[in-house]
Amino acid sequence: MAAVHGDVHGHEHDDHHPSGIMRWITTTNHKDIGTMYLWFSFAMFLVGGTLAMGIRAELYQPGIQILEPELFNQFTTLHGLIMVFGAIMPAFVGFANWQVPLMIGAPDMAFARMNNWSFWLLPVAATLLVSSFFVPGGAAAGGWTFYPPLSTQGGLGVDLMIFSVHILGASSIMGSINIITTILNMRAPGMTLMKMPLFVWTWLITAYLLVLVMPVLAGVVTMLLTDRHFGTSFFNAAGGGDPVMFQHIFWFFGHPEVYIMILPSFGIVSEVIPTFSRKPLFGYSSMVYATASIAILSCVVWAHHMFTAGMPTVGQLFFMYATMLIAVPTGVKVFNWTATMWRGSMSFETPMLFAIGFIFLFVIGGFSGVICAIVPIDIQVQDTYYVIAHFHYVLVSGSLFALFAGAYYWIPKWTGRMYNETLGKWHFWLSMFFFNLTFFVQHFLGLAGMPRRIPDYNLQFADFNMISSIGAFGFGSTQLLFLYIMINCIRSGEKAPQKPWDGATTLEWTHLPTPAPYHSFEKPPVVN
């Protein structure tokens, strides 16, 4: 067990890292890289959020006011791509970098230099993606799923997007190889697989999903590239190809991808809920099996995104039932979280608030998911705002809320300082209020038939759109409060106690000083 040092400066003599910018460029330390991942993803979150503000500003009133339709399409496309590949995914990798070695008692990630490389690919990819707004023809505008024929016809912006997706994919694959190897080979003695914290388990399964499907995404964008420039006809009907095939291959990647974005948040919530309920997680092994079942099922349900693209009835039925089956392991998880809180000695600090908010809103998103899985209903709501509402309930109040919960939960361990609890609670309640204001009404818009990705709409949709836009502006501004809380915490937060959360039981709280020293677990701890 490492000695407990009182202050941050006590460690500096054994840190051995260059100072200034070179520290960050050359670092192989998992904590530095984790920090960079988190800041990068937050920056991309602000970029993607700005695009969302533009979209909602245009949709504030019917008619075209701010964004021309071409630019509006670029905004929706890039908003999706940046939030999925630039914000949510790297944020979870950032958490994995910080927390996986700390939680399994490893000194660092397995391949420290590859870790550095997989981070530094990200700014390159992000630059390509964002700069595509400024090339002739503008950014890709065919939606974040870049279906052909739109994506085979677009301009230079589409090529930049393709390269960007290639680079992001390479980064993700390297990151997941690193995480798998770290988890499987570098656990402290005594830390058996079934003793691992659930966050580590969910990341192990997520990383396997990533190496399973990211190469397929790389393949399908490569086909798009050769269709565009090298005369192949994978997706071109005139050359014997089939645009529907793109959708099959894309969603073979795309559906596991949505679980890649939610499984680690299940992990974070499964750490936060027991800590603040002061009880061990209810049904640990069923949680592990539920996570694995979700991951396996996620690979056989892809065509539920394509019910209107043309499919034999037998196929529709298979994908409908398989999709609805996912509700079973997900229900097991929600049950276990609730059972963990049951008769717990609960307290409601900001991480716990976000975790409970997560459960509450994620269940709503899960239910609308089951509704969308039903073929006749899906044919009705396909490409309407109902689907937008559904996936923002699972991605924003799901993944993003879990990320906030994790950030508040672990920031004392990372910085040695406490965040402002009052402001943290304000952040939660404002986010909760404005999120629902933005997205709940979109269910009604979708059921009434408002199509997605269109800058103008019928007058009957005006009121709900105005409410949704006001909510979006509020939600966006609230996230600046989060930035302030974090900076305030890092620069001048109160000194954190050694163990700010008395219910925490994982290694980083029980075996390491706060803040975690630059080099931790050089001698592995022994887990009983």
Partner: protein
């Protein structure tokens, strides 16, 4: 101990890299798999002649309006059906003439790709002869008339009264053979 660990890590890295490579290849393997799947299940089989397996009964109690549509994309041809529609009984053999004219002064190869509305019409439409099965080569300013012969099976759902058969001509580069799947 440390040595063993890094050897084990590198072994793991190699395994995972090979797995990644396999999945990349798998992405491309989905293409022939998809085509085979469509062929076996008979989905998307638009560019091969159908064989009349059984005697088709003409359903004289019912009329269907068949609309003919013709387009070109990216080649200087004029392409039109000689009649824009036909009122037929299901099961009745139909023959329609299309006409193409090459308006340019170079020889051009092209192939027509069919498209149906409603989408599931391909299950009930049996084509015995079509200019879309082969490559069409037109000399400068040549005009050609070409037939399509088909039957719409009486099993077509009763709520369908109008169907559209559309063809679009695409240019085939010299030396490229026609698509037939």
């Amino acid at each position: 101990m440390v040595e063993n660990k890094s050897i084990a890590n590198v072994l793991m890295l190699k395994k995972l890299l090979i797995f990644t490579l396999i999945m990349f290849v798998f992405g491309f393997a989905l293409v022939p798999f998809y085509e085979k799947f469509c062929e076996v299940t008979g989905i998307n089989n638009l560019l091969r002649p159908d064989i009349q397996a059984k005697e088709i009964q003409v359903d004289e109690s019912r009329w269907i309006m068949v609309e003919f549509d013709a387009n070109t994309r990216g080649l200087p041809w004029q392409f039109k059906p000689l009649q824009t529609n036909a009122r037929i009984h299901p099961g009745e053999p139909v023959s329609v003439m299309y006409e193409i004219t090459n308006n340019s002064d170079r020889e051009i190869n092209g192939q027509a790709i069919p498209s149906y509305s409603p989408r599931f019409l391909d299950k009930y439409l049996k084509k015995f002869e079509c200019f879309c099965f082969t490559k069409q080569t037109l000399k400068p300013n040549e005009t050609r008339q070409m037939p399509v012969q088909f039957v719409i099976e009486p099993e077509l759902p009763a709520d369908i009264q109008t169907v559209t058969i559309s063809y679009t001509f695409f240019e085939l580069a010299a030396g490229v053979s026609a698509v037939n799947k």
